[in-house]
Symmetry: C2
Subunit: 337 residues, 2 copies
Amino acid sequence: VVLAGGRGTRFWPLSRRARPKQCLSLDGGPTLLARAIARSGLPPARVLVVTSAEVADAVRAEAGAAHVLVEPSGRGTAPAIAWAAREVRARGGDRMVVLPADHVVSDETAFRRALGAAWTAADAGALVTLGIRPTRAETGFGWIEPEGAAGGSLPVRRFLEKPPQEVAERLLAGGTALWNAGIFVWTLDALEAALAAWLPRTVAALDAVDAGSPLAEAWCDLDAISIDHGVLERAAPGGRVAVVPVACGWSDVGAWSALAEVLPVGEGGVVRAEAVVALRAADNVVHAPGRLVALADVEGLVVVDTPDVLLVTTRASAQSVRALVEEVERRGWVRYT
Amino acid sequence: VVLAGGRGTRFWPLSRRARPKQCLSLDGGPTLLARAIARSGLPPARVLVVTSAEVADAVRAEAGAAHVLVEPSGRGTAPAIAWAAREVRARGGDRMVVLPADHVVSDETAFRRALGAAWTAADAGALVTLGIRPTRAETGFGWIEPEGAAGGSLPVRRFLEKPPQEVAERLLAGGTALWNAGIFVWTLDALEAALAAWLPRTVAALDAVDAGSPLAEAWCDLDAISIDHGVLERAAPGGRVAVVPVACGWSDVGAWSALAEVLPVGEGGVVRAEAVVALRAADNVVHAPGRLVALADVEGLVVVDTPDVLLVTTRASAQSVRALVEEVERRGWVRYT
């Protein structure tokens, strides 16, 4: 089950309504969504992509309409996963891996090895999450504290969502805490038991759908919550949640500035272009396929050139791309979004 | 006579071998060359454009082949003007105005008024230069110190080429010194007398051409020098040079950063684009026709977007565009120049 609901506004102007972030290629190869599907290790017939109406056409074009579930509205990952689990069951499956559609993994071999360990732990009854070995004291992610440090799969002691800076630094220094990347593995039996225990309204709403209620109606009755808050954090104290640590060159590529984590650095920085010439220029992120990019005396900039929009900002303020898109929408220039 | 020899490398990537700076429109209207021709106040049949082989095709397309003189090589403005003067005489003229092809004048009315005063002074026998009222202590220009301060036309006391900063500041503070913009008016009689006095080799070489020598051969025998150094600076002490002060919104638009002097400042700076959205962005110069330009947290940048080249630099280092072009040529990427 690949979760592909968002637009990835922070990758505007490359990401658009008609071509959300997960349908982009950041390096000229397959799209992020195609790679997430391949990363599952499953044949395409056993893949489901959950998405939103806004970007459904683009996702269907990528994944095939038969494999796409369109949520009536975004209500968090718990409803999406619970609904997808019913669909997996209906199609004859008995276990599932949940993958975000718009992340990057540079070491797919390490990822597959971790996924294998996760399937094993899931078959033993655990709700399993992959835990990314952290590389910085990131305060924007959820962190996982495991019991112990060694082993392919460890019980989760607790989850820490978006910790303050000093906590993130302590977690990084401790050497055992991991990032929660939203990658989960479990049997349907284990998930259903957990949903029944922690999200009974969701179970009841989906039962109503199975009994013939319209999805759009039932959708408003289920719990609007993430699977982390709704299930995993509650199940962890009972020892039912396990984490498989992995270092696989993972990035959520949450903004243009993150391209520097996942693409090779060359003359002038990370530059996707036909050619580059740079004088006293470094640490820039430039996306201008087909062009000669000429840089002089600039550092830490983000420049994205598309046929109808040119974005210029800094790596430090790459998050403000979202505000730019909101401003463009506010002015009614919808064709640019 | 319009001098249109250069490529205007510092306006790369908009300026190219096939489309030098003088053949560009900076504001979407007529090109700089077309405006220089119109600024002469003369009918097109009485205009001559002197240019170089490198950009001759582009200049001919703009000015008409019958009105274009192509120099065998660039040897400074004195040979260009001396040769053009012979051609003016041959076509029945008896006086001339010399205009650079790639400058901007925003107040054409003030310019025409000054040009009228210059024709009058020239008819009285002077070698006349237009003196631009300075707006800053510019060290990259030539300055003119007139005798006195009031009057439509003043005798020139002396020329100061590219003065040091402290001299430029004193000249600006003095209130009477002017910039030498390379705009000259004189009768052919006065020019020929001055050339005979100061540049006899040039006169002899052009005499040889008139007698049948090939121009390319004679061209190497004439004085490679500017008209300022070769004639005006030498003639000034004799009281034969006059200056007509003018404030006409003049700019030599010597680099991208200078666009801020001649184009209106709007959201984000001087932005030529289909639309602009800017958050905490100012003082930028952006050229991206047809695009929405989105700026966040950037200041003092120069960004020029063309179909095959994207330039990103700062206003402070706009002069380094020349070095970028040299580097592009050094790498053999001639198609981009």
